[in-house]
């Protein structure tokens, strides 16, 4: 009974203030260790890298979710002491993030837009860093009869003709942009059709929705392989040159955004384009499969 609650409340207010102070102290401790001189490296536990600075990489879910960047970036950090902070979005959002100056370096896959933005001066130092391909996946029963067809446009035509479910990312990502170009080539406007589900989500979610709704979708090979064992979708079409998927790496132009860490961005680009970086990309495997191929795909 008593006035326990009053004492409790006072204690709570006190704790809140104490927490605020502790948090502030925690922050400043962090800041202090940031500004320690370089030579402190020797004291570090072996294997723990001394972080001296950070860059922000805006990229797509397809490079991040499969684990490629978790594989590459620590090696870069070990070499340079620069931590890479990854923001993974759709390609459209990633390009916008970069264009606003909120990132330092980009790794995306919409070559046409990338080249245009480089021309406009938003980004510089663009390189074709790696490629893989898109595939069309769908239910094993293959209701649209896509199996055996050679081109993606033809497959899309079959899906539309049979009014079979097609799940679109609908998020202005690189994959989404590629998909819309294919519909355009097929002369079909799927927007608003009953069988066309535009869900506005990432690749992993889109595959999951396609899986649950027994539909087809266009996916990059990497994401499909990465989550291959948690869905029942099978590859319906692959190998069409039109489905070639080129990734580019580029820096935000420091002339547009003087605050960006352009030098570090260049270091990162250099790392990815070096023999070592290219070999690493080539060696990266998920579920026993290679996901990305170094360099430029269409020679």
């Amino acid at each position: 009974m008593l006035s326990n609650s009053k004492i409790f409340f006072k204690l709570l207010l006190f704790l809140l203030l104490a927490a605020a102070l502790l948090f502030a102290a925690g922050c400043s401790r962090e800041a202090a260790s940031d500004s320690e001189p370089e030579n402190g490296v020797d004291d570090e536990t072996p294997g723990v890298v001394k972080i001296t600075d950070r860059i922000i990489l805006a990229t797509t879910t397809s490079t991040y979710d499969c684990g490629l960047l978790d594989f590459l970036n620590p090696l870069f950090t070990e070499k340079t002491g620069i931590e890479v902070q990854v923001i993974s979005q759709g390609t459209g959002a990633a390009l916008e993030t970069g264009a606003r100056g909120d990132a330092d370096v980009l790794l995306v896959h919409d070559r046409k837009s990338e080249l245009k933005l480089v021309e406009e001066g938003t980004f510089i130092d663009r390189y074709d860093v790696m490629y893989n391909d898109f595939i069309v996946v769908g239910p094993a029963e293959d209701p649209a009869g896509v199996d055996g067809v050679a081109s993606a446009v033809e497959a899309f035509n079959l899906i539309a003709a049979g009014e079979d479910i097609f799940v679109s990312r609908g998020d202005d990502s690189g994959t989404n942009r590629m998909e819309l170009r294919l519909w355009e080539s097929a002369g079909i406007d799927p927007e608003g059709q009953d069988w066309y589900l535009s869900i506005g989500q990432g690749m992993g979610d889109t595959l999951r929705v396609a899986d649950e709704s027994m539909g087809y979708t266009l996916t990059d090979r990497g994401t499909y392989i990465a989550i291959f064992d948690s869905v029942e979708l099978v590859i319906a079409l692959e190998g069409d040159p039109a489905l070639f998927n080129q990734y580019g790496v580029m820096a935000v132009n420091p002339k547009e955004h003087p605050h960006v860490k352009y030098n570090y961005a260049l270091l990162y680009i250099e790392f990815l384009m070096s023999d070592e970086g290219q070999n690493l990309i080539n060696s990266f495997q998920v579920n026993g499969e290679r996901l990305f191929f170094p360099g430029y795909g269409l020679k």
Partner: protein, 247 residues
């Protein structure tokens, strides 16, 4: 003429309006050591009068003098005067805290040392027969107990002026007697000036030595209790104290 030192508080030309004029007091003087009973029908402006004296409601015009000096509009001077009086509200309100801490509140506000607080609170609780309940959460008390604590809390810091707004309105006869006893004892022993609003004319007659009759925001008559009850100047006063006034 009475010694000026005895003029505790004086109201001059005080008016208060809400949707209409609810109080208009040309002049009213409270002297030290008296027990005033304020009577009048409901809505007459009795509570408003107490609230204005306690500096809780600002009047729309007029001045308040404390020991013959005008009360500052704000600042430490005003607080110092406010600390010399207190109001026990019509509606009992105790803090959600122990009985002991409730009684100690005014003492703590005035920065009394701990030892003085403990001693005074202890003796007061004894006087009102609540020593056993000192640690109880005050909002779990019965109506009579709660009102006893309210009054103990109000007198703990020995104010010069104790304002009471219908302190026994919702109590059973036993508790009414107890509270009335407390009030008279306090006024006598501690020389606290008491202004008690009551709608119960018999209570005014029992406790007060001066009675003020208010009707429709105006003081109709004021004088020694005996005179008001036996030979009032006004017809309305007579009707009211005889319980016959229709309103």
């Amino acid at each position: 003429m009475a010694n000026h030192e005895e003029f505790l508080i004086e109201l001059k030309g005080i008016r208060k309006y809400y949707d209409r004029e609810v109080l208009h007091v040309e002049q009213l003087l409270f002297k030290k050591g008296h027990v005033y009973g304020v009577i009048g029908p409901s809505g007459a402006g009795k509570s408003t009068l107490l609230r204005i004296i306690n500096l809780l409601t600002p009047p729309d015009s007029g001045t308040l003098l404390f020991h013959d000096r005008p009360i500052p509009a704000n600042g430490a001077g005003r607080l110092a005067i406010q600390r010399k009086m207190t109001l026990v509200f019509q509606k009992t309100l105790l803090f959600k805290d122990s009985v002991r801490n409730n009684v100690a509140y005014g003492l703590k506000a005035r920065g009394f040392p701990r030892s003085v607080i403990d001693e005074r609170v202890g003796s007061l609780l004894k006087q009102v027969g609540m020593t056993d309940l000192a640690a109880r959460r005050a909002d779990t008390l019965s109506g009579g107990e709660a009102q006893r604590v309210t009054i103990a809390r109000a007198v703990a810091f020995e104010p010069e002026l104790l304002l009471l707004d219908e302190p026994t309105a919702n109590l059973d006869p036993g508790n009414v007697e107890l509270i009335e006893e407390m009030i008279t004892k306090l006024a006598r022993n501690k020389a606290i000036t008491v202004v008690m609003v009551t709608h119960n004319v018999f209570q005014a007659r029992r406790i007060a030595d001066q009675v003020i009759f208010i009707n429709q925001g105006r003081i109709v008559e004021m004088g020694p209790t005996e005179k008001i009850f036996s030979a009032p100047d006004h017809e309305n006063t007579r009707l009211f104290v005889e319980g016959r006034m229709v309103y």
